[in-house]
Symmetry: C2
Subunit: 305 residues, 2 copies
């Protein structure tokens, strides 16, 4: 993802150009765009995903929109078909690019997936599609593999290859060969199937453990997809509540506030449930829930005094 | 190498900054610097390597010098100790950076190696070293591994790591682990030893085959080090001679003229002798030599007419 988005900024943007970013959204993507001098435009996300009409109102002439439509980070919402169409319509009118980061799409636990933006987009009046589709094997296999991929409109293939050639020339052929064999042999599909059931179990286990221990202090949204869930604190807590609770529990992961470009709203936690044993996940979730409960209790007591 | 040099340009240079480049020199390095808007300053190379005094005369305030001191590309000369000191003196006075690309240093066939610039440089008045040492496993193992390394003055470690983090985050940990095991087990050292003798044989075989077939039309410099040699044509041939001969022979590789920033001087061929069987190398060398001989003969006949 990192390298693909970095290539997008190098090939498609000039420093100072505007880019729509989901708010809340993925901090790593923000950092990459900012490192190349891009001006970030926070576009609100609701239950239907990124609001293209709000984006138009804020920055109609932006050059790029970075979106996670199949499973928004961090909220987990899926972008509705109406919103997808609205986003693509804007991109074609504005001559802007839509970068579709389809991370975690392999781990869908319920409901039919929506077709990717790259799948519903077609050539516009200029004969050109506007979607750059980014995927990764970091979640489906392991992060240390460092292999991702990008599906480009034909006209962008040559400029992307040229930009890559002066970045690190080409990817490691040994790992690419091993991955290709894993995919053609069917072992990758079997692995995904096994992992999907394992992650669904992990999701339920974390959601239950954190909810039970928090005794009403955390509101957990159980996602249909992906490897993380969001647990939200009550809105009336002090601004340091979430980081204090995280420190007390000794857990890791983003705070909800860290994913926001425009501060505000209730804080909370983005809880990943991959990469650890069920026992360790359950324990950490219970610890976080208990720390939140203790914080809420103390806060209520302080208010009564 | 590519990624390391790219990181150097991002961390150390602003677009428009001047950089000393060896002339003739490595075209891939030029392309990376140019892709980031660097102004290239061609600095002549003679039998003692890059001429720092000439560099000072041309661009005293350059911000960076890219050099291949242990085995200059393409000429194969080793930078003398006096020139190394002169280069480092300039870098400390100018507050400039020296990027030392130590490619092929593992394949030395004769004579003692000179200590790397990074080994003789010390902290200047500002307490800081000025050399960035770049190495690669592309030649010692294979190019598709895509693992290189860079040895940095301490003050540069954090900015380089930050620049890398927004480029592709981190290197593939699986390959790094395998490589570390290869090195600690001693297998890498044994491999280098075997390869050194194999490449020396390949060097002699190519030098002999091309010299014999060319019947005086090519002057071959047999290098003490590395995986390529230079074969030079007579100075009085037409400008397209080298590319015509390469096309007629059906061989690959750089022309000497392609490694020059300032055109001029006799053209010729940079002949690599790694990655192919001895039989294939010998055959290709003989083909190139014969094509050169035929060209020289036709050219002489044309001049006589």
């Amino acid at each position: 993802m990192q390298q693909a988005l970095r290539l997008c900024t190098e090939v498609l943007l000039q420093p100072g150009d505007q880019a729509w970013m989901e708010d809340p959204g993925y901090p790593a993507a923000r950092r990459i765009l900012q490192s190349r001098g891009t001006t970030l435009i926070p576009v609100p996300v609701d239950a239907a995903g990124l609001d293209a009409a709000a984006g138009r109102a804020l920055a109609p002439a932006a050059r790029l929109a970075y979106v996670t439509p199949s499973h928004q980070f961090p909220t987990g919402v899926t972008m509705s078909m109406a919103r997808r169409i609205a986003l693509l319509d804007w991109a074609h009118e504005a001559g802007a690019w839509v970068v579709e980061d389809d991370y975690d799409s392999e781990f869908r636990f319920a409901g039919p997936p929506l077709t990717a933006l790259a799948g519903i987009d077609g050539p516009g009046l200029d004969g050109q599609g506007r979607v750059i589709y980014i995927g990764t094997f970091s979640k489906t296999l392991f992060p240390g593999l460092r292999i991702g991929y990008v599906v480009l409109p034909p006209a962008l293939v040559t400029p992307f290859a040229a930009a890559r050639a002066v970045m690190d020339r080409f990817p490691p052929s040994l790992l690419e060969g091993a991955l290709a064999e894993l995919m053609t042999s069917g072992a990758f599909a079997a692995h995904l199937r096994r992992m999907r059931s394992r992650y669904r179990t992990a999701r339920d286990l974390v959601a239950e453990a954190v909810t039970r221990a928090a005794k009403g202090c955390l509101t957990v949204t159980v996602p249909d997809q992906g490897l993380h869930l969001v647990a939200t604190l009550p809105a009336d807590l002090p601004p340091t509540a979430a980081s204090d609770i995280r420190a007390a529990a000794g857990t890791e992961g983003w705070l909800l506030s860290e994913t926001r470009l425009i501060p505000g709203g209730a804080d909370g936690f983005v809880l990943g449930y991959s990469g650890h044993s069920p026992a360790a996940l359950k324990q950490a979730a219970a610890r976080l829930g208990a720390a939140a409960e203790a914080y809420c209790r103390r806060h209520a007591a302080a208010l009564v005094k």
